[in-house]
Amino acid sequence: MENFSHPHNFNSSQSAHLNPHYHLPPAQHTLHQQPPTDLMSRNHPELRPRYPQDDQSNQMLPPDPEDGMPGASDFVRKLFRMLEDPAFASIVCWGSQRDCFIVKDMTEFTKVILPRLFKHSNFASFVRQLNKYDFHKVKNTDENAYGEHCWTFRHPKFRADHLDGLEDIKRKSAPTRRTSTRATHSTQSKSPVESPAHHRDVGGVPSTSGGPTTTVASTSSADASLVSVLQSQIDQLLQSQQDMKSHIYTLESNYRSVLDEMAAFQQGMASQDALIQNLLQHLVNFEQPKRPGDPASNPNGQPIESNFVSEEAQRMLSTSAYNPQDVARASLQQLTELSRRANRSSIPMGPVPPPSLSTSSVPPQLTALPRLQTSADLGGGSAAPQNISSPSTRGPTGGVQSPIDWSNHQGLQVLTVGHLLPRSSSASGPTADDMEIEEQVLPSASYQSQTPVSATPTSSASPNRLRVRRKTYVPGWAVPPRVLLVEDDAVSRKLSSKFLQVLGVTADVAVDGDAAVKQMCLERYDLVLMDIVMPRLDGVAATSLIRQFDHRTPIISMTSNSCPQDILNYYSHGMNDILPKPFTRDGLFSMLEKHLNHLKAMSQLSQIPRNLGPGDGEQRIKEVDANGNYKQEEPNRSLMPPTPSTSSPFPPTTFISGTPSTSFGSVNPMAGLGVGDEQQYAAMLANMTGDLFSDRTIGMKRPAETAEPDSLDEHQAKRGRFEAVE
């Protein structure tokens, strides 16, 4: 386009100035009487009628051969004439040396002279034109007589007494460029027929004394140049059309591929829908004969899902580029190794801390207790400070507690809510034990009470147990999940947000569906807990609205409506799960865990490859130092929470001196992982793959996972900013 427009501009806007020049050479030789160009002759008639008072001078000057400026350009002529004109003497005049001219009154000059002679009233453009002709403004030296606002211009050849010099005053650069391009044009595009004709015309000029011939000659040459310019323009147009065509072709192919992808995506969505429908159907069928009217509770749902999961997961894993199977295999080897050592070390090891927990072993717990105590005091009932510090505090304490419990209760569940520990403690030592045991028992008890014993005890037990194991090596969230709690009932809201707080979740609260939708527009959340019956906008409607712009944030309905129709209705409006009301802390936690697994699993997965490599020797050395007597490598550490434990704030001396042998007579290092025997590895691995799968499908997290590192960072950045709102 640029190429195209440039010559066009060139032709139209500049021709006024340029024409004289390239027509001048032929004209110069032929005649002095006639105005050399048609342009010239066009200019003067315009001048005359407007300013009859100037008639005399104008009429006299331009056609006059006696004006003494035969070869001078139009502009220079006008300039000269202007200066010679006594009518303008008060505004513009020659300088005292008569080698420059002075505009005495710029305003008058702009108002009177410019419109008359130069047909505009812009002083700046007059100056520009002067500059083009190589006139330069001169500092007023001795011309102060005319006041400060006068302008003096000088050209070495522009002198009142030196008319011959005027001929040499030419436009700078532009004309030369113009002539050269013209030359190339004529050589390139002129047909051989035209060319001689042109020469003949030029050659014939001297012999003919009349003006018309010259005009013909110049017009024909003008035509020729016009043709060539047009020709080049057409070429350019053709070229750009070609470009356009290819561009459009690219766009079309892009469009087609986008369509293809969309179709594929739709298929994927459809199959996912079908899967979910299937699951639901299963769920409802499963539920109905047993307890009509009871909400589809998780414990029952899980076995089906996990069965389903394993085959699906297998397929997904095999196609995954990341190939977690390698990781799984590697960790299996590690675990085998571990269990071998565990068997060896079942002999009482005394003060030797379990290898996997060496850095964050016993002392952190002891020191952590007072710390937690203080944070509780500071909090004064609200656990906000705990929430903030949770990644660091929970890491060590969680890691520590597990070996204690697992030594006594292998295969049982440990809830790693570290900061719950200090409460209601009377004895000093076994505090943690007591609490932990209670916490272990509670969930399993509640599951049994909820689930009829007939409901496939083995399969319902396995997710439970497996979930346990995950908790042990992922004691907390990698980052505190951000949850939006939508609840109109103040009491439930207060309780639920407290539950969330205790579970290490950062919660914002919306009081109805309307507020929830608005809040979802403003912020990103990892999960939404949505009440159903609410004023203004109920949970189902709010979910539909949210689903219009947010397709993947899991929305869990909290409801006491329990009939299957309702539940299907919730699902069909875009909800991902049901949390029957009233819910317990454990119910809430397993729900969070199920849907926010990526916040833990990701840290887990990202840890494994890194720690499998030889790269973290330094950390190991540190650990060995800290524990003095421990020399072995600990491959299983890769399954432990990342850095907070290794870079623990406790000095090494504390580790050694503070290691009490009293309450930990024999510590099974495997207990920390909840691994008692080899049969469990398989189940564990299956669970890990199951986890991967649930990450991908439940809650439709697929896009989120690819963007995971980002969102993790985001959370890290946000963590400090948000606290529970009550």
Partner: protein, 192 residues
Amino acid sequence: MSLTEKRRDQMFQNQTMIDKEVFIQLIELDEDGSTEFLEGVAEEWFNQAEETLASMDDALKEKELDKFSKLAHFLKGSSGQLGVTTLQHSCTKLQHLGEQWDDEDESSKKMDLSEEEAIKRIKPILSRAKKEYKTAEKWLNDYLNANSDEDEDAPEDLQTPKAEVTQKEKDLSAKNDKKAVETAKVPVKVKS
């Protein structure tokens, strides 16, 4: 077993009103023996329940069964969350009756109850619910008082002097009366 726990256990004995498991989880939300959070929640619930029960009365008078059902549902939610099982169940039933069916009456599941019939069946259950609420309120207050007693004079005998209890009850009921007056002044905000 600490003093608090003994007392707590005593309070849980011989009652079916409160779901112990749920309630213990609430207790555990408080830091180390304090009842601050629980008190806050209980306070809120007292206000809410009284307000809601009053609104339910109004709705019944106006024969707005739909509204009545929603109010019952609302109270059911918070009661359940607090572990007040009796009230929760009554509210469930009231909610259903507001929808003109009776969960204990098979025929009503096929055909809606008439409005009159529904209201007729609602009345006894509503008054039962009110009684249940009063009992739960008293129990909760007792629990909170027992705990704060322990904070103040821990080594005291388990048997709380009867006089003190009655005095406390009087105080509380006076407080509640005052509260009721306050709620009456404020235009009742109906949550549906």
